[in-house]
Structure formats: structure tokens, C-alpha cells
């Protein structure tokens, strides 16, 4: 697995961008943070579009920038794809010419992504002869993604590629991005300030705050941490489960998914049985039962759990967060009153009732 070692510092008037991180380049890596936290700057520094006054950047063992040694590899020699917020297509070229612009400039021995594969994946065939100015925003962005992919980049950088699109077009493009990493095995560094996009797409996450790295790690870890500003307030703390669709129960409007050999139910999904589905269990959607589980319950999802740890809820002074082990870490947010009545302590066996939400 490749990795990126980055250290950049830029002093702006009134703002210091000072980032140091190691990013494993596999799957989709989300760069998240509020606006002005330095997400775009980080991406541009990695691409070589912005030159940090002091920086060190290594892609595996290849040095892309090392100011101590006066090394700076220009962007055109880094073999990265960049998808900007706006499509930035070339208006004097047709769609096909746009798509082939970077491909023609790549070394033939580097090309491992076929033209037909990309155009099929992004459903671009019907657009080939169209003028760029006659494309809709979503179509333009798909062409831009295809154009970047056709250079067979060793890393794809996407700077809020969906920011300029409306909700409906966003929904249409997200599945394409998901398929990219799976089918073409190109690592994607994805900048966004939309949490639901990240929850849906990312495997790994770099959280930026005021020009610094606040947290980095696998997305499951980051979203079950309680000390991260921005996440806690957004009520998105909870476990992320990689499940597989088992069957649909249309008579109840439910879908059964399998996770670690157990069944979970959630509202009916459109994906076919066998398809992978990412599911989130928010900590506020989990309740705990001590003792034998009720023989019958209206709650569909119940798992046996062991309490690992109890801590203050950072978002609510009358609540506590309970970290559980169900063969996988799960978080539950319960009221302080219940916590005292149930006399919860680490090591105790309980049953967790919860609602699961599909991240699509």
C-alpha cells in the first residue's frame, strides 16, 4: 500500500497553515473540516499547485517536495489527477478532446485505465460530440472526473467536486465516485465539508481545524471519538458498519443485512442482495437493556454487548456515552438518569437495541 508523508507550512496574514500527516493511500481518504480550515490548501500543496514556503512531501519513497534540499517536482510530473470544484473543461475542445487531453500526454506504459472503461463507468458515451458549454453542471463534472482518470493517475485529488451541484445531481454522481476506487483501484483524496458525503465514501479521514490536523485515522475510529469538535455537535457520532445486503422484505418495507454473521434490519434499500452497504448506528439511536432480553420486543435490532467504557457526553451534560463491544465497537448515548438506575459499569453484559441507518 502506498502512503503519503506530508508536512507543509504557509504563513498567511492572520492564518497559519501548518499540517503534518501520513496518509495511507488506499480507498477513499476524506479531508474534512469547516471552510477556511485549509482543506483545499492541503490538496493544492499535494498536487504542487500551491507551493508551501516550507514543505516536505513524499509519495512512498519518491520525494515530491523538500525545501531543505531545494526539491520541487512540478505538478505535470507528479502523475496525480485533480478534479476541481468547478469542472474547468477546455471550452475550445469537444468532450472527446477534453477526455483525451491528459491521456495523450501520459506515457503509454503508465496507461492502465482504458478509455472505454472510464466512459462506460461515468456514462459519457452520449456526450462525446457535444460542446462543453452545452453540458449541464453534472455532465461537466463527470467529464472532468473522466478526464483526470484517463491520465491513469497514481492518486486522484478531488476538491469538493460536488459542491457546485444541486442535491439531485450529487446523488447521481456519488455512486460513480464509489465505483472508481473499487473498480480502478486508484486512491482518492476527497475534500468535502459535507459529512454525509464523507460517511458514504470515505475509508480514512483527515480532520483539519484552523490549518492544523485535528485527527486522522480510519473513518470508523474517527466517528466514534468523542473529543472531536465539529463532529460531536453535528450529532454524527456513532459506529459505522460495513454490511452486506442479505434479502429484502418488501411486505414490511425492510431490508435484512448481514454484519459479522448477525442480521440487522433497516428500511428497504434499492441495492440488490449481495451488494455491500455501509450502515451507521448513531450513538443517540442505541438504548440499553440490562438482564435477560425481553422475549418479545418491537425493536428489530438487538445485540448482546459488553460495556467497555463509560464517559461524559461532550454534547449534553445530562447524558453519558457508553462504549460497547458487540464483536465490534458500538457507542450508546443514554441519559444520566438511566445510567445511574442501571448501575452500568465496564465489563457488564447488556443488550443493545438500536436503529440502523443506511449511508447512501
Amino acid at each position: 500500500m502506498s502512503r503519503l508523508d506530508a508536512r507543509f507550512r504557509i504563513d498567511y496574514p492572520g492564518f497559519c497553515f501548518d499540517v503534518e500527516c501520513t496518509i495511507p493511500l488506499e480507498g477513499t481518504i476524506a479531508v474534512f473540516g469547516s471552510s477556511g480550515s485549509g482543506k483545499t490548501t492541503l490538496l493544492r500543496c499535494i498536487a504542487g499547485l500551491t507551493r508551501a514556503s516550507s514543505g516536505l512531501l513524499r509519495f512512498d519513497d519518491t520525494v515530491w517536495q523538500d525545501d531543505a534540499r531545494g526539491i520541487f517536482l512540478p505538478v505535470e510530473r507528479r502523475h496525480v489527477g485533480f478534479v476541481f470544484q468547478e469542472a474547468r473543461l477546455f471550452p475550445h475542445l469537444t468532450v472527446t478532446q477534453n477526455l483525451k487531453y491528459g491521456m495523450k500526454r501520459s506515457y503509454p506504459f503508465r496507461r492502465r485505465i482504458a478509455f472505454d472503461h472510464v466512459t462506460e463507468l461515468l456514462e459519457l458515451e452520449t456526450l462525446f460530440q457535444r460542446r462543453v458549454s452545452h453540458l449541464s453542471g453534472g455532465e461537466q463534472q463527470r467529464v472532468a472526473i473522466g478526464r483526470a482518470l484517463l491520465t491513469s493517475p497514481q492518486l486522484l485529488l478531488m476538491d469538493e467536486p460536488l459542491a457546485s451541484l444541486d442535491q439531485q445531481r450529487k446523488k447521481a454522481i456519488v455512486p460513480f465516485i464509489q465505483r472508481l476506487t473499487r473498480e480502478l483501484s486508484i486512491p482518492v483524496l476527497y475534500v468535502s465539508h459535507a459529512l454525509h458525503e464523507i460517511l458514504q465514501l470515505a475509508d480514512h479521514m483527515v480532520l483539519l481545524k484552523e490549518g492544523r490536523v485535528a485527527a486522522t485515522g480510519p473513518i470508523q475510529d474517527v466517528f466514534s471519538r468523542l473529543d472531536l469538535p465539529g463532529l460531536v455537535e453535528s450529532n454524527v457520532i456513532g459506529a459505522i458498519l460495513e454490511t452486506r445486503i442479505a434479502e429484502h422484505e418488501p411486505q414490511f418495507g425492510l431490508t435484512r443485512v448481514e454484519f459479522l454473521g448477525r442480521s440487522l434490519f433497516l428500511p428497504q434499500q434499492v441495492l440488490p442482495p449481495g451488494a455491500p452497504l455501509r450502515v451507521q448506528v448513531l450513538s443517540r439511536d442505541v438504548s440499553l437493556v440490562v438482564g435477560a432480553p425481553p422475549a418479545t420486543s418491537s425493536v428489530l435490532n438487538t445485540l448482546e454487548a459488553t460495556i467497555l467504557e463509560v464517559s461524559e457526553s461532550p454534547g449534553d451534560q445530562y447524558a453519558v456515552e457508553v462504549k460497547l463491544d458487540v464483536g465490534y465497537p458500538l457507542l450508546a448515548m443514554i441519559t444520566r438518569k438511566s445510567f445511574q438506575q442501571l448501575r452500568l459499569r465496564p465489563g457488564q453484559k447488556v443488550h443493545a437495541h438500536f436503529k440502523a441507518v443506511a449511508l447512501t
Binding site: A47, L49, P74, V75, E76, H79, V80, G81, F82, F84, E86, R88, L89, F90, P91, H92, Y101, G102, R105, S106, R131, S133, R147, A148, T151
Partner: protein, 227 residues
């Protein structure tokens, strides 16, 4: 009115001068306009003002300074003489250099505007797709700035065609060498040859009108829309 007995020399010379000048201007003006469009240097405004000077300066003033500079001991004429063994003043080459200065803003300003309108964004996209800086200039920036080039060529050409004051100062009035159209018209009027003056003036007027009309039409139809 029948076509009068004419000396076509000045017309031909003028076209040659304007043509050569435009080529020189494109070679000099493109990098200059590019620099003006993208530099963050604090000398930018200074250079911009210098480039625009010929628009406001009386041609005789510009011509006077150029005459001094092109002279055998001048800033440009001196080294030229050392290099080639001949003087610059009152030669065709001298006229080309003078016209280059004189028409510089008419080429640099449209190009500057066009490059600014193209902006950094498409270039960054091109670089990220593996294009070198020069490659991106020729395959992205230039085609996107095609309207600017068209305006630059036409304005530079037309402006050099009508040059009078500067030519008179640095070129004099040597038939076949420096006697251009506007000076020929002046000569005809001086000796009261109004028919010839009318004819040459009409040629210049119609030509200028036609070329501007053609340019504006093409400009309107060009498919490039830089947002």
C-alpha cells in the same frame, strides 16, 4: 473619377512595414502581456503605464526620443551599428523598431485582457493533466485567447498603417525605404495633388473600415466563450 497616375510604392511599403511590425509585436507583446496578466510583482503597474504611454504621448514626442535612441550614438542605434556596421535612423529596420514601440499598447492590451480572462484555472487543469507550461500555453491559453490575438493583430496592423508623426521623425521621407502611405498623402497635399491624395486616403479609409468590420464579425462568431 478615373484612377490617377499613381506611385504604388508607398502603399506596398506601408503594408510591408505593418506586416513585419505586427510579427515583431506578437513575439515581444505575448510574453509581456502574459507577464502583466499573471505577475504579482510590484513593478506591474509601472510596466503597464510605460506600455500605455504611446497612446497619450504626441507622436512627435515619441518620435523625437526614438530618433535620439536610434541614432548612431543612441541607446539602440549604437549597439546596432557596432553589430551590423550600418546606422538605424532613416532605414526600414529603424521604422520597424519605431513602429513596434508606437503600436505596442495596441497589441499588448488586448492580449493582456485576453490572458486575464482565461486566468490561471484552465492552466492549472492542463498542468494537472500532464501538460508542461509551454504546452499548456499553446494548447489551452492561446486558443482560449484567440479573440485577443485577433484584436491585437488587427489593431497593431491598422495602427501602424496610419502612422505619421513617428515615421516623419525617425524615417524621413525616402522613397522606397521610408516613404509610407500617410507621408505620401501629406506630400500630395503639399503640392496640391488632391486627386492622388483623395485616392490614397480613400484606400486607407476603406481598408480600415473593412478590416474592422471583418474582425468584429469573426469575433462575434468565434465559438470560444470564456466565462
Amino acid at each position: 473619377m478615373s484612377v490617377p497616375e499613381m506611385d504604388w510604392g508607398p502603399l506596398w511599403l506601408t503594408v510591408q512595414l505593418a506586416g513585419v511590425t505586427v510579427v515583431v509585436l506578437l513575439l515581444v507583446g505575448t510574453p509581456l502581456a502574459w507577464w502583466l496578466a499573471f505577475t504579482r510583482s510590484r513593478f506591474r503597474t509601472l510596466v503597464e503605464a510605460i506600455v500605455a504611454l504611446p497612446i497619450v504621448l504626441p507622436p512627435t514626442v515619441l518620435g523625437f526620443y526614438l530618433l535620439v535612441a536610434l541614432g548612431p550614438h543612441g541607446l539602440i542605434g549604437g549597439p546596432w551599428k557596432d553589430l551590423t556596421g550600418s546606422a538605424l535612423s532613416f532605414t526600414f529596420a529603424g521604422l520597424v523598431i519605431a513602429s513596434t514601440f508606437y503600436s505596442l499598447p495596441f497589441v499588448v492590451q488586448p492580449l493582456h485582457g485576453a490572458f486575464e480572462a482565461v486566468g490561471k484555472k484552465p492552466l492549472e487543469a492542463a498542468w494537472s493533466l500532464g501538460a508542461s507550461k509551454l504546452d499548456a500555453f499553446f494548447t489551452v491559453a492561446s486558443p482560449m485567447a484567440v479573440r485577443g490575438y485577433l484584436s491585437a493583430v488587427v489593431l497593431g496592423f491598422a495602427h501602424t498603417l496610419g502612422e505619421f508623426g513617428v515615421v516623419l521623425m525617425v524615417g524621413g521621407n525616402i522613397p522606397g525605404v521610408t516613404k509610407v502611405l500617410s507621408i505620401a498623402i501629406y506630400d500630395h497635399v503639399e503640392v496640391l495633388e488632391y486627386t492622388q491624395a483623395h485616392f490614397l486616403s480613400a484606400v486607407l479609409l476603406i481598408f480600415s473600415f473593412l478590416i474592422l468590420t471583418i474582425v468584429y464579425t469573426i469575433n462575434r462568431r468565434l465559438p470560444i466563450h470564456v466565462s
